[in-house]
């Protein structure tokens, strides 16, 4: 075969491959219901229902990663090829992991739970006929793209190895139903970039912290910045004596808790008290509410 023929064969193979890839089925899972007064999942459902090609099959009754796995394994909608894009929509955070149980009514999919499930071989990995290198696992949840350890474990949970790429948002994901001036509704998906700070020992958000976080943004955006402050407390047995300087030293339980949250020892203020090791911090997140800006700019109103 000469070079020209080789190029032609490669082109034909590439064409066939791309056709095959295009023929793959996508599937999108909405993994929870809204709490009263909120419409995150309702808006996400409308959003994905309006984008059939991107969404593929829209599954709204799965409530655990095991449910997702079983659907991927058993559903005939997949056809003869592995799945294309498998999208999971759920609440979560870079610290907590995905707020979805691994097994129905079980423990949520944090780092420790994923590790334990893998170690005990309780979650059979899917083979390459179901998920392969050209499949994509997309986690539509806030900030999990910043936890590479969690992403690795999540990929291993579904495939047993790292063959299927896992993607997750590094920003703050938001689905909203909007209504324009003419009364028409539409849904919007936004991924807001955010800055986070973990303040050791802080108990409330003060103006100095706000100012510090504002400095990390362009001046054009600081007016839109919204702040969320969440207190974090780790309270575990103190099995290790204080260090040579009389400072608390990390116990095994403390290290495990930190790893589960993706935090460092130094990010919390620690003290020992009556056999307990207590670490406290305030997690502060700042993000520009561009949706609010859009609402103003395009004369939209939040709806439903």
């Amino acid at each position: 075969m000469n070079a020209r023929a080789l190029r032609a064969a490669c082109a034909a193979a590439a064409l066939l491959f791309s056709l095959a890839a295009a023929a793959r089925e996508n599937v999108t899972f909405l993994l929870a219901d809204d709490n009263p007064g909120h419409a995150f999942f309702a808006a996400a459902r409308d959003y994905y229902a309006a984008r059939a090609d991107e969404t593929g099959t829209l599954v709204t009754n799965a409530r655990s990663l095991a449910d997702v796995r079983e659907f991927l394994q058993r559903s005939p909608l997949r056809g003869a090829t592995p799945w294309g894009t498998v999208r999971l929509v759920a609440h979560g955070s870079q610290w907590q992991g995905l707020r979805v149980p691994v097994f129905a009514r079980g423990e949520l999919a944090g780092v420790q739970m994923l590790e334990r499930t893998l170690a005990q071989r309780e979650f059979p990995p899917l083979d390459a006929r179901v998920l392969d290198h050209d499949s994509r696992l997309v986690v539509e949840s806030c900030g999990l793209g910043r936890r590479t350890a969690w992403l690795r474990l999540f990929g291993r949970l579904f495939t047993g190895d790292a063959r299927t790429p896992v993607e997750a948002n590094v920003g703050y994901v938001w689905f909203r139903r909007l209504r324009d001036a003419a009364g028409r509704t539409r849904t919007a998906r936004e991924e807001l970039s955010y800055r986070a700070a973990v303040l050791a020992g802080a108990v409330q958000l003060d103006e100095a912290t706000r100012a510090k976080l504002r400095r990390e943004w362009p001046s054009t955006q600081t007016a839109q910045l919204q702040f969320i402050a969440v207190p974090l407390r780790i309270d575990v047995p103190a099995t290790v004596l204080d260090d040579a300087w009389g400072r608390p030293a990390p116990s095994r339980e403390a290290r495990e808790a930190l790893r589960n949250y993706g935090l460092r020892w130094s990010q919390l203020a620690w003290r020992t008290e009556q056999g307990r090791l207590r670490g406290e911090a305030l997690i502060v997140v700042a993000a520009p509410d561009r949706v609010a800006a859009d609402l103003r700019q395009f004369e939209l109103t939040g709806a439903l």
Binding site: A66, S93, W95, R99, R121, E122, P125, S141, V230, P237
Partner: protein, 739 residues
């Protein structure tokens, strides 16, 4: 991700709030009997006890009991019968009904003397009349006049009782027999009989159980049961068909909920004139050593003459066992009492070192164990010892009970309840159980009886396990925006891990606001808040009215004049009388009387003596404790596993495996949390492969829709939500090891 979701969940790594405490169930071990009073023995047949029927309705923590004893007069002359029966010390007797032939007579509450007068007049007039009085502590007497030949008499007694769990186990105790010799003395010459004509009467039980949680286990160590369960939260029980001579044993029923949870929470009953509440709070299921506050034990040991020999050896054994569980931060002291008292350490309690233990034992050995006893003075000495507020003090009274422990002792203990719980150990074969129980009840502790050295060690160990876990000390309740009053107990005892805190009281106005409980725990100050509006309001909570009155009655009887505003005895009597009349409650000063309108005879009633069934010897062992709820609970684990498998449906035994039926499925009791669990869909290739590898598993896996089975290192859960495929190597590994 939403911001609000962060705020709700991040950082909740550990929570450790749980609370509460309260008093113990006390059991009575005495037996009903009829004493038939008359003069012409030749014409009178003994009154046969035909049947005892107990209709027991247990909803959550409240047992409503109707006890019906049926007797028949087959003699030739009218008789007057005297009916003596025991009940739990916590039973609140609030009703009596007599059925003589076709006539039904309902009792009404009266002052004791007035009731006697009415009864006497009705008896003289030839009417059917009945009088129910408190005969002694936990013993009642019913007099029934003018029962004609051929009459069949049914005595229906209604009472309610609050069941309080120990180690998550609830126990309902129904005394039906005549037990100890001490009781015979108190029963005015009545004796027990093991004769067939006395013991072959039938005992009928109809028990309905309704729980707020699924029942994990239901069992009876005293009787074989037939259990029917409509659903996981309800059960009906009856004696098994092959249960013989059931009436010769006191009935004991034990149950517990899934996860050893308790029926806790806040119950509300808004009545017509007054509103009542009951709060039950449970401590954490498992106690970590760091959660236990520093403890101080003060052993008050009787060294009077009657303790010489085995009783004193038992006392030392108890001391040694209890000190074995002490931690470095714990302290102890020993105070010997007889005519006077002598303390091991007068200034401060001692650490539980081997040397200090030797000193304590030497102190006991060097005492000559003679003279009379003065527990009151000994307890006064104990309360005078210095005490740290951050230590949970437990006073352990060890005595053979042959001591004058009168109302003054109870009052003293009650008045210092915020300083210390008091436990009592009755040692020796002739222990006076009444004294032991009275001391423990006043101190909101537990009473334990040890009759011989053989049972001393396990019982002392069980007792140690119980008292070494005080979770909270200095417990106080405040009511914020909730107008609570007349709350019992007036002083909340220390919280021990194996029992809940129970508060019962009244409230005015709306059920709103909060109940805040504070205490000192092993990790410092502790606080729990209960939202009153979230309490459960139901007509089924109506017994709270009677239970409140019973609880207040116990408080007043024990506290009496120890109150700072010292009531004179006459005032106390009037106070209790008013309580009984207002709440239709049997008390030492109020009685039920029932008088029928019809005049049935002009003849004078004659008499026979009705013997009482004697308690069968095989149950004397457990019943001998007569109040050892603590030890019964401690011994429950092996008893449960043995008895429940044979009798109660919550557990199923198939092919040598035992399963707990949770209502949602069957769980192999061999399964341990943490075992790798393979979840397998029933209609799947994985399930087919599993059965191919282990066909023997089919026997168990097809017992229900959802079955969790332990395979040794691994376990499998087969249901409709599991995985349809598993790698063969995983299944092979799972089935390789057999349990």
């Amino acid at each position: 991700m939403h911001g609000y979701s962060w705020g709700r969940s991040v950082g909740r790594f550990l929570m450790a709030l749980l609370v509460a405490a309260i008093a113990g169930t006390a059991l009575a071990g005495e037996t009903p009997y009829f004493q038939v009073v008359g003069t012409d023995a030749a014409r009178i047949e003994r009154l046969p006890l035909l049947q005892t029927q107990a209709d027991v309705d247990i909803v959550g923590t409240i047992a409503a009991v109707e006890l019906r004893q049926t007797f028949e007069n087959r003699g030739n002359v009218p008789i007057e019968a005297v009916y003596v029966f025991p009940a739990s010390l916590r039973a609140a007797v609030n009703g009596l009904t007599l059925r003589v032939g076709e006539r039904v007579v309902r009792g009404v509450i009266r002052e004791k003397e007035a009731a006697r007068t009415e009864y006497g007049e009705a008896k003289a007039a030839g009417r059917n009349t009945a009088l129910l009085e408190q005969h002694g502590e936990g013993t009642f007497r019913m007099r029934l006049a003018n029962i004609l030949p051929g009459d069949r008499i049914e005595v229906a007694l209604q009472y309610t009782e609050l069941l309080q769990p120990r180690e998550g186990v609830y126990e309902f105790f129904l005394p039906t027999t005549f037990g100890g010799g001490d009781y015979a003395d108190r029963a005015a010459g009545q004796s027990a009989s093991a004769a067939p004509e006395v013991t072959d009467y039938s005992l009928v039980l109809a028990v309905k159980l309704a729980g707020p949680l699924p029942f994990a286990q239901i069992e009876s160590p005293s009787h074989r049961l037939a259990v029917q369960r409509a659903d996981p939260r309800h059960a009906t029980l009856a004696l098994a068909d092959d249960e013989a001579k059931a009436g010769t044993r006191d009935f004991v029923l034990r149950f517990r909920y899934v996860g050893d949870d308790i029926a806790g929470g806040l119950l509300l009953y808004p009545g017509r004139d007054e509103n009542f509440f009951l709060l039950t709070l449970q401590p954490p299921a498992s106690v970590r050593p760091e959660q236990v506050p520093a403890r101080e034990y003060v052993f008050v040991i009787d060294v009077s003459g009657s303790m010489t020999g085995a009783p004193l050896d038992l006392a030392k054994l108890v001391l040694r066992e209890l000190l074995a569980g002490m931690r470095p931060q714990d302290r102890f002291n020993v105070l010997l009492f007889a005519g006077g008292s002598e303390a091991l350490a007068k200034d401060a309690s001692l650490a539980g070192t081997p040397d200090n233990l030797k000193r304590a034992l030497r102190l006991i050995d060097d005492n000559d164990a003679s003279g009379s006893t003065d527990l009151l003075q000994a307890l006064q000495s104990v309360y005078a010892l210095p005490r740290s507020n951050r230590m949970a003090r437990s006073i352990v009274v060890v005595t053979d009970g042959v001591i004058p422990a009168d109302d003054a002792v109870s009052r003293l203990i009650r008045s210092h309840l915020h300083e210390a719980s008091v436990f009592s150990f009755g040692v020796g074969a002739s222990v006076d159980k009444g004294v032991i129980q009275r001391i423990a009840r006043a101190g909101t502790g537990e009473a334990v009886m040890i009759e011989n050295l053989d049972e001393g060690k396990p019982q002392a160990q069980a007792f140690r396990r119980y008292i070494e876990q005080p979770l909270l000390t200095d417990v106080r309740a405040t009511f914020e925006g909730f107008d609570a009053y007349d709350v019992s107990p007036t002083q909340i005892p220390d919280l021990f891990a194996q029992r809940p805190i129970v508060l019962i009281g009244k409230y005015r106005g709306a059920a709103q606001g909060q109940i805040r409980l504070r205490g000192i725990g092993g990790r410092g100050p502790y606080e729990a808040v209960v939202d009153v509006a979230a309490g459960s309001t139901s007509a089924t909570n109506a017994p709270l009215r009677t239970l409140w009155a019973r609880s207040v009655l116990a408080d007043r009887l024990d506290l009496g004049a120890a109150d700072a505003n010292a009531s004179a005895p006459a005032d106390q009597k009037a106070d209790i009388t008013r309580l009984g009349l207002d709440y239709s409650l049997l008390t030492p000063y109020t009685s039920f009387v029932a008088i029928d309108d019809a005049v049935r005879t002009q003849d004078t009633a004659t008499s026979v003596n009705q013997p009482t069934p004697m308690r069968a010897s095989q149950v004397a062992g457990y019943a001998g404790g007569s109040g050892n709820a603590l030890l019964l609970a401690a011994q429950l684990q092996p008893a449960l596993s043995h008895v429940v498998a044979a009798t109660a449906l919550p557990l199923r035994e198939v092919g040598g495996r035992r399963f707990r039926d949770t209502g949602d499925g069957l769980i192999d009791l061999a399964y341990q949390p943490g075992q790798p669990l393979l979840r397998i869909r029933r209609d799947s290739p994985a399930y087919a492969r599993l059965l191919e590898l282990r066909p023997d598993l089919r026997l168990w896996l097809e017992l229900g829709d959802s079955v969790l089975l332990s395979l040794g290192r691994y376990a499998v859960l087969v249901d409709t939500r599991g995985f349809s495929d598993f790698p063969d190597r995983v299944l092979l590994r799972a089935v390789a090891s057999r349990p």
